[in-house]
């Protein structure tokens, strides 16, 4: 099974993943990337500061970019019961 690497980027902060994880395919790697980002965002929320520009960059074994997971891919925001993804939400004054 292939190994995928999950690098973290948030503004000037870049954390290089040199270990990677062995997963079945890119679809599984993408699900893993989403889980990783949700965990980091959850910790952000606990700390009281949520950094919305955080992204996970997925690389394959050849260190070619195989995917990108961003805030709007992993979180749906709701306001008064109305769903909105982050891009839409950012465009309104209410968020």
């Amino acid at each position: 099974m292939p190994r995928y690497f999950f690098h973290f980027r948030c503004g000037p902060e870049y954390v290089d993943d040199r270990e990677g994880e062995i997963l079945i395919d890119i679809a599984a790697a993408r699900v893993r990337g989403e889980t990783i980002l949700r965990h980091i965002l959850a910790d952000d929320v606990q700390s009281g500061v949520l950094e919305m520009s955080s992204v996970i960059l997925i690389e394959d074994e050849g260190h070619e970019v195989a995917g990108r997971v961003a805030f709007s891919d992993v979180l749906t925001l709701k306001l008064e019961g109305r769903e909105s993804n982050m891009h839409q939400c950012e465009a309104t004054d209410r968020c």
Partner: protein
Amino acid sequence: MLPLANGRIIMRYADRLDLQRFVNRLLSRSLLTSDEQDAILDLPCHFATVKANRDFVGLREYVDHVSLIVDGIVGRFDQNRDGLRQITALHLPGDMANLHSVVQPRATSALQALSVATILRIPHDALRAATARRPALAEALWRDSMVDASILAQWVVNVGRRDARARIAHLLCEVATRLGAPNGQNGFRFAFAVTQFQIADATGLTSVHVNRILRSLRESGLADVRNREVRVLDWRGLIDAGDFDRNYLQTEIRPEDKLRILEAL
């Protein structure tokens, strides 16, 4: 009778040194007579090497021996219905990883070598015989098991009540202390042959998150974790970051506080 092969004879001497290390560990908390100490040193045992990432005790497996860790790091695992694993304990050199199996031989959690590990296997029967006539020795082993329980309780607090940074700082403080780090000494180094993935499994985080926190600890001048080695840069700062109080490890028992409660009738 000693086998004739030189290598095996040397090994038996080494085995005895490893058992002496375990006796010293018992003596750090309990009072034992020389006969009781000899009963441990005379235990039959055999040496085994376990490859990294290999389970040597499976979930629900019946075991007939305990495993004294001589070298390497061993993880205790549990898992959920989907097979997702969580490390619930780290066993370091000198630990009797499954001492409780003497009285509960069916494994309720698995043991896996996280790095190449060397262990001494000691038959349950021999330990039962050694303790049957020596209640104070049984008491010392019981007390040693209670340290594992105390560590587990702290790990529950770690994953339940500490944020990611504090969890990892606490884990580093604990491992450093268990490996004999002098209290308050900066610059203490220790081998920590685990991956970020395994640290994540022990702290309920993801490996990327662990990676990010380790970088933060390094940039804050608290600890440098690289190439399977940890260097404590600022012991006081790391303790503060990890909300760490070493008392639960019971590593510094004063001579007058060592216990011996049970005696033969």
